[in-house]
Symmetry: none
Subunit: 231 residues, 2 copies
DNA sequence: AGGGAGTGTAAAGCTTGTGTAAATGTATCG
DNA sequence: CGATACATTTACACAAGCTTTACACTCCCT
């Protein structure tokens, strides 16, 4: 059994340090983000996490917002942590799609036990199923099968094309730079005069256009690409 | 979505009555057992439960014992309830294989939210992992005998071929990576340039094709294999 | 309007994954 | 100790698809 990867999103430096020291020897790999945006970005990157520990009070984007956005594309299990122990918060978090909820201050062993319980349960799921189906307009994306439907037709995409579309759809309505696409999809920095991203986008457009005429991927000259929101 | 079936094991008549009235209108079917033995017997019966709510203090067989015995044969999710709020108990329960732990007295809405969270998570399990005989299209798989029928003809498969087919069929409609196949079927990490999975898949296709022409196992270049859903 | 930088896309080239046959290894059983 | 059955490795041809090249075009700035 390979080491389980956890993502801890919490701005309390003392706590994150402590937890890192506590959890690492137990055989977990722990990544840490100190604000909501960084956390969300890591959580939705192509790196796979088995569990996310999410604080509620966070700079930039609070825990509930992170959870909400995460759940539009990913089903990664989430254990929420909060200073506020009040029931309403707990219930709200769970209703929003969290898997567990623990109030600070917590017993480290209880946290450890709850992490173990969640990871144990998740191990029964095929890892591919942590990604949510994504539907925007008439384009539907099914991560477990890595399939895309456009106007209910199966569109045959290559792995790279699929990844790019997925990335753009996750960030629909906001701009994604070529650098970003290159790093997240191809795993390498974008070289100068590198046209491969353009090529993939071009092919993607062509394939989608075969089923649906309206333009879905917009170019922002000098900046990147943008998946148009079309409710 | 059919009604979720819950099993409540608790000797507190007042509480069980209350919970029944509270949970039934929320769309759950609730069975109740008032002692450990009866609970275990129901839990291990052929009736399928989506979730078990298990009190710790029970006549005849206490909650931990019930959990321990249940886990020898069943992976049904368990939410433990207890009057004792102490951490040690919680940790002990979770370590023993419980999925969640809630101390009495609890907020009904929190219980409801935690039930919902667990049920929601469980719904992601591949549908067929519960059922015994897998039949998809004209291919039927009978695990006890390790036999496969295709268009009602017995297909002679080797153990490995059978395992691969089984894995793909359980995850039908989702992509299964070669790494995954290698780890789950052969019990070892996929080495670079290892072609053995390809071999088995090739043989599997050949054997199935002898009885049924249509393609069932699709290759996703660079990603893995996918068993096509055929209603 | 002119020019440069950024972009769309076709076509060619090249890398890499895949299908399959055959050879080699390995376990089981009489 | 063979004989058999199966798993694995090797080898090679092939095809998919990623990348590069090339060139036309568009946008934007001056």
């Amino acid at each position: 059994m390979s080491a389980k990867k956890l993502l801890l999103i919490d701005d309390d430096l003392e706590l994150t340090e402590l937890l890192k020291e506590y959890l690492t020897p137990q055989g977990y790999e722990l990544d840490v983000a100190h604000d909501g945006e960084a956390g969300l970005s890591l959580a939705t990157s192509h790196k796979h996490y088995d569990l996310i520990l999410l604080d509620v009070m966070l700079p930039k984007l609070d825990g509930f917002e992170v959870l909400k956005k995460l759940r539009t594309s990913h089903l990664t299990p989430v254990l929420m942590l909060t200073a506020k122990g009040d029931d309403y918060d707990k219930i709200f978090g769970l209703e929003m799609g969290a898997d567990d909820y623990l109030a600070k201050p917590f017993n480290h062993r209880e946290l450890s036990a709850r992490i173990k319980a969640l990871v144990r349960r998740m191990a029964l799921l095929p890892s591919s199923s942590v990604q949510q189906n994504l539907k925007l307009g008439n384009v539907e994306l099914s991560p477990p099968a890595q399939q895309v439907f456009c106007a209910n037709n199966l569109v045959e995409l290559t792995a790279t094309e699929y990844s790019i579309l997925h990335l753009l759809m996750i960030n629909h309505g906001s701009l994604v730079s070529k650098q970003n696409i290159s790093e997240k999809v191809l795993g390498k920095k974008l070289a100068a005069f590198d046209r491969s991203i353009d090529m993939h986008v071009s092919n993607l457009r062509k394939k989608l256009a075969a089923f649906s005429p309206e333009e879905k991927i917009k170019t922002h000259r000098g900046a990147g690409y943008l998946y148009l929101v079309s409710t």
